[in-house]
């Protein structure tokens, strides 16, 4: 039994948590989310390089919340998601345990402060490879980028898989579902697709933790991560602000600081 399985068994057996949300093996050997509720099933847990999904998305589901206190197997982006959700008043202190898997010992983070400290030691910036790709992309001309996105969005099916996979798309009524008035058209035509994707990107500006699940979920392979990473980078360079590093709200777009570097707003 691996250290992770042992820890999960112990937590469930002692009733410290009612459910362990982690990764298991699905069809074709793919990693999938599992919800372990009995200590005897702890052996189903796996953790390896195929386990990429941001499991924090399940924390926002009412049916998962009903199961009771959860322990969550986390990756770095998952921890930042937890902090961002806390900053947005979506999860309460002491409502979950974060299990950070590692080869030797499982690290257990029980409080937001502990998660903040853990995240502070990680590099939350875009990776060198991500920055290089973004650089190449933004170096393209405006027309070229517009053509690129028109081509990409023309394939969008409006299946909303990106929204379902995103842990920060937790609104019970999404803007796209507001129909009195209908700001964003429902059909998957060019204008509607553009409006939907731009709206979603803007709603994540200053909030997205760059977990990449939207791009992985997209059935037609639209590189949504590029939009999000551009916004992550712009929010950081423009406002020196990063999402998911504190459990207290400091949203770049909804706060004003008197020492703002831009003077037009004063």
């Amino acid at each position: 039994m691996s250290a992770l399985q042992e820890k999960a068994r112990e937590l469930l057996a002692s009733a410290a948590v009612q459910v362990v949300i982690g990764y298991g093996r699905g069809s074709g050997g793919a990693a999938r989310a599992v919800f372990i509720r009995e200590a005897t099933k702890a052996g189903d847990l796996v953790f390896d390089g195929t386990c990429l999904q941001n499991l924090a998305v399940y924390l926002m589901k009412p049916e998962v919340r009903k199961l009771g206190k959860a322990a969550l197997v986390v990756r770095p982006a998952t921890l930042r998601t937890i902090l961002q959700l806390a900053a947005e008043n979506q999860i309460a202190e002491n409502s979950l345990l974060a299990l950070v898997p590692s080869a030797e010992e499982i690290v257990l983070l029980a409080t937001f402060a502990a998660i903040e400290a853990h995240v502070a030691a990680l590099d939350s910036d875009l990776s060198t490879a991500e920055k290089a790709e973004l650089q190449r992309f933004t170096a393209l001309g405006l027309d070229e980028r517009r053509r690129f996105w028109e081509e990409q969005f023309s394939r969008c099916l409006k299946c909303y898989a990106c929204r379902a996979a995103c842990p920060l798309c937790y609104c019970t009524r999404c803007t796209v579902e507001c129909n009195q008035p209908q700001w964003i058209p429902v059909p998957a035509h060019d204008l509607g697709n553009l409006e939907w994707n731009v709206m979603r990107a803007m709603h994540l500006a200053g909030r997205c933790v760059n977990c990449g699940d939207c791009s992985r979920a997209c059935p037609v392979g639209i590189p949504l991560y590029l939009l999000n990473q551009k916004l992550v980078s712009d929010v950081f360079t423009g406002f020196n602000s990063r999402s998911g590093i504190s459990a207290r709200s400091d949203n770049a777009l909804s706060t004003f600081k008197p020492n703002d570097p831009e003077d037009f707003i004063r």
């Binding site: 008043n89 979506q90 019970t172 999404c174 507001c178 949203n251 909804s254 008197p258 004063r266």
Partner: protein, 671 residues
């Protein structure tokens, strides 16, 4: 079914000269839902308003669109007319075809088409309007005046004499402000302190005025009629109740070589001090930065000599909270100091001084007891050069405005100098002389003609020292534009009047707007000169722009009158154009997800948390709620809400969307 009335105004010829108002009326009549469409020469006139009222009654209108000027101008007029005819006033909208159309376009079909589009848009909106009821909020009849200079003193006395409570907050140890530093005042040359100090004493003795000297505003929350102020009373390091103001401590204090702020750095004061003998309140304060005890832990001489044991070395700042209904900002101005004038040697040569320093030299209570003696060696200067516009009206220096007071005080300085040093030679370098004011021009003429002050029209390029004299190099642009060199003993720079150093920070605490130079902005430059854009906060004196004493006093009385008018009612009626958060039936309760990003976005702290609980008290949901008293209807939260759970009454999503569609559909129709 909507029955909308459209009323198109010619505005004399303001609209009808460029817009075909007949065509607008004819086209408006074709819009679905429009039951009545007429044009008239002056819709805001009595007969014009009567047209609106009659149509409401006779045709049973459900909404009114007045196509005329900006809603800032006449929306209240027509809303009142609608209310008088029995239609809810918020079912009336203005279509601005003047500022947005006739004034900015040439006469032509395109201009008329645009006017029709504007009307079409507003008809689409008004169909979605809902009847709204005004909001009533109580008024706390206490005014807070910030700044105890002449403007703050005047405003406080006027409000207090109108029978209302006043809290006067002054950051310095004494009230009086710059006026207390002045020697004589133009154009009458009466002694500044002689006319000011009785007012200061009146403030101290007035039963309706609570004075917080040596205090600053910490924060201000709330809204017109209902502000909550937190005032920081800085520690004077003594018990004000025990102190009798005998002055023994200030006489015995061993640290006596501290530049006096009151004497503009020309005199010295001890570490425990009263700024000037007529100070109100006449209680000293310990300057902890310079006090031997605070620096070394030894001394405490003042404590030993104090006959009432009033000294409190361990005193802390105290925060006082107060409910106030109105605020008068009277924080005054400052002048440019320091290295702003390297070419004039200001700060380098001790005998290059600014206007305030000259005031102290000329003042009987000043460091030289009113004798004009130059700071370096105490000699009486034989030649004095006064430089007007030192920094002012100089775009290169970043101050393009006129500081307004310098022409007059420079004439006064030159005159005072001449009255005290009869054989002295005063020169004034000036750009233009601006002496607009009662008896002002005569005053300047007197300086020139009776007192023999040499006026030189031209600017000073450089001032440097040569053989114990200050060489002033300039140009006389009137007499053949010849360069001029004057050897002076003393140079007085009329440096630019600027905003107080803390002006921006205070404005942000109060949420009032200010201009590029950090002077506070009035709500309207002509028609609302003493109000800010934040309701319930008024302006008095030089914090708005450089001003002389009579102007500051007049504005202070104006602000006081506004406060008194506000306090004349016990309830304030506000327009209900505020944000509301969605509420609906269980099990949803509200589409708000409670992320509260709107809370930090709200500039007015108007968003609160509301806990929705079941019958058993169980918490079901925590959602946002807008405090109707605080909300100003700016709409920032609406733009921020991802779930579109917030709407502005009178500018709802539905209304705005209908307006946009009205314009888009017009394109389809034409195609």
């Amino acid at each position: 079914m909507a029955r909308i009335g459209v009323f198109i105004c010619h505005c004399g010829e303001n609209i009808s000269a460029t817009v075909d108002v007949m065509k607008v009326a004819a086209e408006a009549a074709k819009i679905p839902g429009v039951a009545h469409s007429v044009e008239y020469k002056y819709m805001c006139s009595d007969p014009g308003q009567q047209l609106v009222k009659n149509a409401i009654r006779e045709k049973g209108l459900t909404g009114v669109v007045v196509a005329a000027c900006s809603p800032r101008m006449h929306e209240p007029t027509f809303r009142r007319a609608c209310a008088e005819a029995g239609l809810n006033p918020f079912l009336c909208e203005m279509a601005n075809i003047r500022e947005h159309c006739s004034w900015v376009h040439e006469k032509g079909d395109a201009t008329t088409d645009k006017a029709i589009d504007i009307v079409r848009t507003l008809v689409a909106k008004v169909k979605k309007n809902k009847a709204l009821q005004p909001i009533k909020v109580p008024v706390t009849k206490v005014a807070m005046v910030i700044g105890g200079g002449i403007a703050g003193i005047q405003a406080s006395l006027d409000i207090a004499n109108a029978g209302h409570q006043v809290i006067l907050v002054e950051k310095e140890p004494s009230i009086g402000g710059h006026m207390s530093q002045l020697s004589e005042t133009f154009p009458t040359l009466d002694c500044s302190q002689c006319i000011l100090t009785p007012r200061m004493v009146e403030v101290a003795q007035h039963l309706n005025i609570t004075l917080f000297s040596y205090a600053e505003l910490e924060s201000l929350d709330g809204f017109i009629g209902n502000f909550k102020a937190r005032i920081r009373k800085k520690a004077r390091s003594l018990d004000e109740k025990l102190c009798t103001g005998c002055g023994l401590c200030t006489q015995k204090c061993p640290s006596r070589r501290i530049p006096s702020e009151f004497d503009a750095g020309l005199g010295l004061r001890p570490a425990i001090y009263v700024p000037f003998p007529q100070a109100v309140p006449n209680k000293p304060v310990i300057d902890r930065e310079h006090c031997t005890y605070y620096r070394t832990g030894k001394c405490r001489l003042c404590e030993k000599v104090c006959p009432t044991q009033a000294i409190r070395f361990d005193q802390q700042d105290e925060i006082v909270e107060a409910d106030v209904g109105a605020v008068v900002l009277a924080t005054g101005f400052d002048i440019k100091h320091g290295d702003f004038f390297p070419e004039y040697g200001y700060g380098k040569y001790r005998d290059v001084i600014d206007g305030l320093q000259f005031e102290r030299l000329a003042s009987a209570s000043g460091p030289t007891l009113g004798e004009i003696r130059r700071p370096s060696d105490g000699r009486v200067p034989e030649t004095v050069v006064f430089v007007a516009c030192a920094g002012s009206r100089d775009p290169a220096k970043g101050i393009e405005y006129c500081s307004k007071i310098c022409c007059m005080y420079t004439a006064k300085h030159a005159m005072l100098y001449k009255h005290k040093v009869h054989h002295g030679k005063p020169y004034v370098f000036y750009m233009d002389i601006r002496a607009g004011g009662k008896m002002y021009e005569e005053f300047v003429r007197r300086a020139m003609e009776e007192d023999g002050v040499q006026y030189v029209r031209g600017r000073v390029s450089r001032i440097f020292e040569r053989g114990g004299k200050l060489v002033v190099k300039g140009v006389d642009t009137l007499l053949a534009a010849r360069p001029l060199e004057i050897e002076a003993d003393l140079v007085v720079l009329a440096t630019a009047g600027i905003a107080q150093p803390g002006a921006e920070e205070l404005a942000q605490k109060l949420h009032v707007s200010y201009d590029a130079h950090k002077f506070y902005a009035e709500a309207h430059p002509k028609l609302r000169p003493v109000e800010t854009n934040t309701a319930g906060i008024f302006l008095a004196g030089a914090c708005q722009a450089p001003k002389d004493i009579p102007e500051s006093v007049a504005q202070a009385s104006g602000a006081a009158a506004k406060v008194a008018a506000l306090f004349s009612q016990s309830e304030l009626v506000r327009e209900p154009l505020i944000a509301v958060v969605d509420r609906q039936a269980p099990p949803v309760y509200s589409s708000c997800v409670g992320c509260f990003l709107c809370q930090s976005a709200c500039p007015y702290q108007a968003i609160e948390k509301e806990e929705i609980r079941g019958r058993d008290g169980q918490l079901l949901k925590t959602v946002a709620k807008v405090n109707p008293g605080l909300c100003q209807g700016c709409g920032t939260c609406v733009a921020f809400c991802r779930t579109k759970s917030i709407d502005i009454q009178g500018f709802s999503h539905e209304q705005v969307h209908a307006e946009v569609l009205a314009l888009l559909n017009r394109g389809e129709r034409d195609a």
